[in-house]
């Protein structure tokens, strides 16, 4: 047994294994902060769960009267059920290499933040009774806590290419969609995807996650900029001189995204990893709950 105790591998493995999937735990924690007040639909409608008894009103058909309840009193009651139309929400989180970037050790990767937000939104939606899945047919929308675990696992997949565009196949008509990326790649596939989605009545959010350095461009001197995947490079002698023009291009890109959303009825939001995830989640939740086109 002594050699077992001396083997350092086991304690390490145990330590790793004893942790919950950190992303899931974090997302749970984050989601918990927004949960209050928005639970369920809180109004009568079509569904399976009991909502309330109300006295019969003129216009109600006899068929709607709950005889068991009415038999206990002189008034006749109608049994109402809670409105429970489940929405299907499709998520897409950019798995590309460009997301795996943080300009500072104290900042999270863009990919980390994007996954966290996506999963937190998913948890909120699942608690609200919605069905959540991933675009591209990899994970069809389902309900329940198990789906959250599946989502967490699926979100961990990463792609080696520098930039990715959303695969909008498998969209459920009139569903909702949430695309989280830095949107640094080519905009044409995105435009196509969004147009296709809009054609199927899908509304949703474009959520851009940027690193503060990408927003500020705090570089000077002779520099070779390389993409995270290493496929693109740009050399400049005076990085400081590029700042103004870079920021201009960034603003153009944001405008383009905004315009694209406007045209398709989507909403656009932007988030920096330097800011708190909670405010981003609040915005996302509000925007998702705001209904199509809100």
């Amino acid at each position: 047994m002594a050699d077992l105790a001396l083997n350092p591998l086991r304690p390490r493995a145990e330590a790793e294994a004893s942790r919950l999937p950190p992303l899931l735990a974090q997302a749970e924690l984050l989601a918990r902060t927004v949960l209050l007040g928005e639970h369920g639909r809180r109004r009568a409608g079509a569904g399976d769960d009991f909502w309330q008894y109300r006295p019969v009103q003129p216009g109600d058909s006899r068929r709607m009267i709950d005889w068991r309840r009415s038999g206990r009193s002189d008034v006749q009651f109608v049994r109402q059920r809670e409105w429970q139309i489940a929405q299907s929400v499709m998520l897409w989180v950019d798995p590309a290499a460009s997301m795996r970037f943080a300009s500072d050790k104290s900042l999270p990767d863009k990919a980390d933040r994007a996954r966290l937000l996506a999963l937190a939104v998913a948890i909120l939606l699942v608690r609200g009774g919605e069905r959540v899945g991933l675009t591209g047919g990899s994970l069809p929308p389902r309900r329940g806590e198990v789906q959250v675990a599946r989502l967490a696992e699926a979100l961990m997949r990463e792609s080696a290419e520098d930039y990715a565009s959303p695969d909008m196949s498998g969209l459920i008509p009139h569903g909702r969609a949430l695309l989280i990326s830095d949107f640094m790649g080519d905009l044409v596939p995105l435009r196509d995807a969004l147009t296709a989605a809009a054609d199927r009545g899908v509304r949703g959010l474009l959520y851009q996650v940027l690193d503060p350095a990408e927003e500020a461009f705090p570089y000077t001197g002779r520099t070779i900029f390389e993409s995270v995947g290493g496929t693109l490079a740009h050399e400049t002698l005076k990085a400081g001189d590029l700042r103004a023009r870079y920021l201009e291009r960034l603003a153009e890109r944001k405008d383009a995204l905004g315009a694209l959303c406007h045209a398709t009825g989507w909403r656009y939001g932007c988030h920096h990893t330097g800011e708190s995830a909670q405010s981003a989640l609040l915005w996302l939740h509000g925007a998702m709950a705001g209904g199509p086109g809100a």
């Binding site: 002594a2 077992l4 970037f101 640094m184 070779i224 002698l237 870079y246 960034l250």
Partner: protein, 918 residues
Amino acid sequence: MILGPIGFAVPWLLWGLVALPILWIILRAVPPAPIRRRFPAVALLLGLRDEDHVSDRTPWWLLLLRMLAVAAVIVGLAGPVLNPRDEGAARATGPLLILMDGSWASARDWAAQTAVIDAMLAEAGRDGRPAALMQLSDPQAPVFQAADSLRARVPGLIPAPWPVTPEGMARAVDLLGESQFETRWFSDGLAGEGRAPLLEALEARGPVTVHESPRPVLALTPPTLEDGQIQLRALRAVPGPVREIAVNAHGLDPAGVSRVLATLPMTFDEGVVEARGALSLPPELRARVTRFEIAGEAQAGAVSLTDDGLKRREVALIAGRDDREGLELLSPLHYLEQALSPTADLLEGGLMDVLPANPDVIVLADVATLSGAEQAALLDWADKGGMLLRFAGPRVAASDVSRSEEDPLMPVRLRAGGRTVGGAMSWGEPKTLAPFIEGSPFQGLAIPGDVTVSAQVMAQPDPTLADRVIAQLSDGTPLVTRKRIGAGQVVLFHVTANAEWSSLPLSGLFVQMLERLAVSSAMAPPDAGELAGTTWQPLAVLDGFGRLDEADTRPGVAGERLLSAPLGPDLWPGLYEGPERSLARNVIAADTTLSPVVWPARVAVEGLERAPETPLGGWLLAAALMLLTADILASLALSGRLWPARAVAMLALALSLGLAPEARAQDDARALLATEELALAHVVTGDARLDDTARAGLRGLGQVLNFRTSVEPAEPIAVDLERDDLTFFPILYWPISADQPTPSAEAYVKLNDYLRNGGLILFDTRDADVAGFGAATPNGARLQRIAAPLDIPPLEPLPEDHVLTRTFYLLTDFPGRHSGRAVWVEAAPPDAEQIEGMPFRNLNDGVTPVVIGGNDWAAAWAVNERGDPMFPVGRGYAGERQRELAYRFGVNLVMHVLTGNYKSDQVHVPALLDRLGQ
């Protein structure tokens, strides 16, 4: 080439400096290396053109830094030398003899002297001159050899602790040989016969240059003891301006540590070569002094060792009435012992027994008659310098000693009976002392007013009486009389040595009088005749620097030579031990005089100063390296890459400086916290909730202990097995969770150590049933894995008669939040048997190292900040009862840990009662 004080070995290299401006231009033109950065938004940058095609230039100060570095390299390689040897001066050739006095007086500037010799030999080595060394204090034939190999010997040269003797110089003349050489003579500055012939002999063989240290030679003559004061005399060779010196008296303090016991400042007046001073030390301190030393003079002449001359006296105390079984304060010797024991070695015994020990003083307190043999022996002893101190008393008063004619061992004749004044049956007041007359050894001592004499023996008026009185009463009757016997003396106090007849022994004056009489009787140095035929073994010897070394295996010295023979290799200065006493042989004798050597005008005399040749190349190259390092840092800073480097540096700095002491301080604080009061402790499992529960549980148990028992534990402490010291805690509570990490190997070492040394760990699987089934639950399996490497003895379910069932409360089961059955403890020894009539077996001694159970005791004990239970236990009153039992188990457990098997010992109570007859 020489520029000012700096010369260059390779001056043409300096032309390289011309290239610096070119380098400047080149460096300016080359842009700094690009930085590679990861940047996801590079897609947005593609296609952007630089407006200005010139890159950022290297800043001027960085260029300057680099220029300076290059310049330093060039100048450094050109071989600059500060204070170079004047190449133009005529270079001496031929062999070189370095002649050193090497005496104690040379030791005062030995370091400077060897440095100059070293430089000289280095120079000779460069010039290819053979060289030889000769030390006049111990002359050996000079052997000319390569100066460089000789140079290796220079650090090993040490001065001899004796002066240069004329014989030594004469021998040196004989050893010089016939060859021609240049001589450098390092003189100690003291005159001596034989210098002139040696100088002539040297000049016959070549040029002679004398080097002399300008530092004055100081010396200390052996201290003498006069009038109770130590007389010190310092000498200097050259009469000069006023100079203050301090003489330190070194010795062992009562703790046995050598330290400076006293310091005496002394002053050489202007133009005077001698300084005197008197050091008054309490006898106790004086007896401890081992050597005097002129402060700051590291040479043997400034040290004077003390021998028995300042040492403690041997005093033999003999009382006439020692058969009396009375009070100690009435003992005739009590006051003498009190007065003498701090300053003297006391001998007690019969008179004939102590006489062979040859004490310095023999005290006879109220001893009247002596046998013929005793008297003869005493007379013989006193004749050789012994001092006999007698006290009167009832016996002397009643005897016929020295009545009709003077006893040889009495200073005066005595009248029969003595007298009593101021008593109940007599007239007059008790008498006081008269001031001490001139010539008395007590002269100058202050007489306290309360010293009175109520009885005494009276001296017969005799022609010699007046000369022999050294103290008298106010009415003129003698109190102390003295008579010389050969070299010794006999002193009679006409009162008792205790307080019966007078209050003198009660006063400080008594001690002072004894000091003047007995202790201050100096021991004369032995004469040559006494030393003949004896051998003296060196105890410690002085080296040239005045340091005392162990004599080790040095041979003994014949007594005849010890005092008179000149010091030399076969007679070192130091402390020698002979029969019955020790003698110091110092470098400077009492009659030594110092006089400066006077060199003829034709001889060049130089000091020891010599601006050393200092090569600067190494420094310049080092400076260049530092500049280049600065350049690296500056370049990194400019390119924005300094931060990681700085972070690493800061981290290293923090690790080396900050964290370690802080961590240690934290450890100390923690140790204090854990040990100031009894603290219950729990093991940190990593599960915050579990740890909080454990902590709250121990807090609750602590409160219960506080209320009900005399155990008053402090706030519980969380123990991290990997980090913390376990030894402070008598008991560790260790809740087990299924996903707990296994401790590291080091932690297991600590845990096993803890268990072996009396610690107790309460393992709690918190699953209510593991104790019966082992690995049936995840927690149980985890416990098995965690506990496997622990040194745990065989276990058994807690037997009914285990001491845990009765250390405070009588318990039969041990519920916590669960009420599982079995709790496992160390198994009883197989031979434990129940004694007939006893309620329980006499089980194992000591405390069980582990208690294992699964009842989640901490949860049952746990209370929140307000003292309310945190977790429900059972239902209703039965639940509260279960909680109470859980607390009782905790109390019993802590009591068991703290008192061990104390309650088991109750088994012996009936036997004890029976034995006591109750």
